[in-house]
Symmetry: C3
Subunit: 385 residues, 3 copies
Amino acid sequence: MSEPRVIRKPIGNFLEDFVPGQTFRHKGGKTLTEGLFSTFTEFTMTTNPLAKNARYARTYGFEGLVCPPGLVMLLAFSQTVEDVSENARANLEYIDMRFGAPVYVGDTIEVETKVLGVSASKSNPRLGVVHVQSVARKNLGARDEAVVLAWQRKVQVWKRDEAAELHTGSAEPDAVAVELWLPSFDPARDYKALAHLTNADTYFEDFTPGTRVEHSRGRTMTSEHIHLTAVLDNTSQVHCNQFMIDLDPKQYVGGELIIFGGIPFVLCLGLSCPNVGDNALGDLVYATGRHTAPLFAGDTVFAATEILAKRDHPTREDLGILETRLLGHKFVRVLEEADRSAPASAGGAGARSEPEASEAPPGWKKVQIFELERALVVKRRSHYA
Amino acid sequence: MSEPRVIRKPIGNFLEDFVPGQTFRHKGGKTLTEGLFSTFTEFTMTTNPLAKNARYARTYGFEGLVCPPGLVMLLAFSQTVEDVSENARANLEYIDMRFGAPVYVGDTIEVETKVLGVSASKSNPRLGVVHVQSVARKNLGARDEAVVLAWQRKVQVWKRDEAAELHTGSAEPDAVAVELWLPSFDPARDYKALAHLTNADTYFEDFTPGTRVEHSRGRTMTSEHIHLTAVLDNTSQVHCNQFMIDLDPKQYVGGELIIFGGIPFVLCLGLSCPNVGDNALGDLVYATGRHTAPLFAGDTVFAATEILAKRDHPTREDLGILETRLLGHKFVRVLEEADRSAPASAGGAGARSEPEASEAPPGWKKVQIFELERALVVKRRSHYA
Amino acid sequence: MSEPRVIRKPIGNFLEDFVPGQTFRHKGGKTLTEGLFSTFTEFTMTTNPLAKNARYARTYGFEGLVCPPGLVMLLAFSQTVEDVSENARANLEYIDMRFGAPVYVGDTIEVETKVLGVSASKSNPRLGVVHVQSVARKNLGARDEAVVLAWQRKVQVWKRDEAAELHTGSAEPDAVAVELWLPSFDPARDYKALAHLTNADTYFEDFTPGTRVEHSRGRTMTSEHIHLTAVLDNTSQVHCNQFMIDLDPKQYVGGELIIFGGIPFVLCLGLSCPNVGDNALGDLVYATGRHTAPLFAGDTVFAATEILAKRDHPTREDLGILETRLLGHKFVRVLEEADRSAPASAGGAGARSEPEASEAPPGWKKVQIFELERALVVKRRSHYA
């Protein structure tokens, strides 16, 4: 046989490929198995019994163990990576991420994305920003088809060809009906008999706007992140292809694999759980969120939550809505930090100043890695304990 | 918004918080998924088909794959960590650990602990010993609610405040009815048709008291231990927070993360399985057990079993009871060992002298890491093969 | 008690133990859980929705998520390791690996192996080759008992005693009825409504014999391989016992743990999936395959597929058969490669010349690690999209 003709199939879209108004019906789809559920629920140290204790979840009116919001996000988001961000430099912002139907083991999730905007970078002719709206539904075609998550995001994407014309412009987002499903309150159920399974000080009545809770646990991430990212179908090569980075280490922050942002996202949710999420029935909306510095294998992640506001639930007197800001951070040795994190951040322009720098021990610097505006629906002690 | 008031919520109890006679109903609870089952059954190299082959397990009269005793222990023990040992220096001793009902995928386990004793350390005013009794039940409120494990343990716990008064004293353990569930022997079942699925030389008749079996396989542990510990809900920071250790490396053995003792515990059970546990129907009781040296990522774990005694089962002529001592060890380079393991051991006073030191190859030292008095219920060849 | 008598139980067979014509009914057996399914399906970046999307799989006529061919191979192969290759130096060749019934979560697989040949090495008196035929069946004793995989392999095995006599000779392979199960084509089903879930350019019509597809993604393997290998019940110590290697590093390639060949095998299948396997209904046969160089933690795996030939399916006009050669490779720094990979390769005599050496970037050498003759059954666009 003669020398074969070689074909290199590009994967994913580049900046010039996106057209405002176009829609992607993403490939694959994902059925939630008990394997994936276990890996992601439990590695985050989530403490809400809805995701751990089927007896508790069923008593509250769910069908079984409930997929925690962080894993719903990971499942849905990862389906969009090949089409939207396989060739991205950074995920700039999560916007208006709204939760709908609960997700259980066995549910199949499929996702669609609409392009809302394309714009060129002013400073770098090889980059630009794509703004998209995505909707994840479960069990399409089945009786209980339902939206589980809808969100927008802005992502910084590379051009394939620096000289290519862009389809700049914008499109209106679709109106997506998404409402957090909540089990009804049934006075006949003995909720109080389960009250010892959650923390006693995380009911709606316990939170005070204007306070900030420093969550006490930290978690060191290892090279496990490569496996975690792969099992989510997130195929972005900056998370798993060390050879690509070795060929051009200066192009990549720190010359090493960057941990997929979804990992610190769900890890911060988990670390905050014993103090904030333990008595929540669901996460309502993440109005905005961003990664403000990259995370690498070996870093230890910590989290804090600012309690911003409290309000009544519009239709449920047994519940309240808690508005919070979830913050993630790590500490880097002052010398090390100068070496690798300074020139580029995964979140680019989104980085905030750091009011807590003085909290770091001598020789270390506190680096904020993540922030998320998060509204939760929380049980009232008056009804449940 | 003005600078928020910062709240740091302590997690877990310190020595001065424990009161003899008090009872903890632990938070969370845990439903056994196929994900967790797979991770822990299979990483230990367990060879007993009850945990691997549903056809075998059902033929023997179980409902399906049987959760191996090591994983029952991990599930139950981990539920007690936050309340009992989140602030511990070392787990000193496992006592009278008795198995009851079989655990299957889908079962939910919840645990209670009673404080049996509190005492101060004579040598270190910041430390003391807490003695507890714990009981794990499955499917509470359901028809087949049952005790799956009952045990005592002694744990060395830090004081929050060195000057605090202790609630020294003791309380009686509760009488807990726990009996190992065993499927009945049914002559109509064709056990012999399955005999090739287990080792031919691990029936009750094959063991000789006074012998010691060196299990031939070893298993190198990696930083995977951080993930394994997290998915068990074991939140103790010495296993997963490298930053905490970097801040004060001299306080921690070797200046690195210590592997959760439950990992070598189940790994030694697994490594012994082809020679000792392959034809067991269950583990009856662990009379006493302890960790005698810490384990770190990179260490390779080996195991041996001493056959101590054999006795008839009181009610079952098809089964016998085997009394053994399970031992775990690793080898350290002589130089390395002098550096980091010498001054402090995770098991403190429990370390034994090491009669097998001469077995180590030149340049290496054999270090015992674990010992467990273990009684198993083993099939007789006369009935099953 | 007096010093116990010490027993060291050897595990697995050595070259002199094999007798042509003898049959092993392997111990253990394995029930496929959702945990194992998730770990192995998803770490390989498989994109075929049969293994990811239960809605898609059911619409096509399968019972649920379909175990991908790579995992069927790993499950079946691993059951044979203790008896056949626990004491092997290298797996030389996979031969005539044929797939049969689909494997679903909950199925139990058991395996038998017949020894077809034993021969001595001409150059090394401590080594020889064992040739075996293995058959994996599912749900033995149940109504739907079926062959899921049949294959031969040749493996280079150590002698226990260099002076031992060998049972050289050969035996005829058994005739094994194994036919790839395929769901029937039903015009009433709306396949087209699912067409967006797979790549649009991987139907049978899209392939051109004589082309070579370079798959664009790479995947860095980490020490995770130890865990992955253990959960498969593959007990070979060269994959998991670093202490054994530290005692005699020159005996082992590179002085470090070698990654189990099944890992690059399934990883290459996964990396090729978006370009080759996305619209396949099954893998038919792997006529021959081999590992041509070892893989270590830290290496990044890439894959390519040569399209060798296309032919009609004998009974199905909706499908075609695609004959391919799947190739795996990695890049090593020129200096590093000289140090450790040059003198010995895991595949020994099987290494081919490397026509693509010139493709490596300066300072790097491309090393082929794996090749597999692979025939797939692929959907025709005319019927499915």
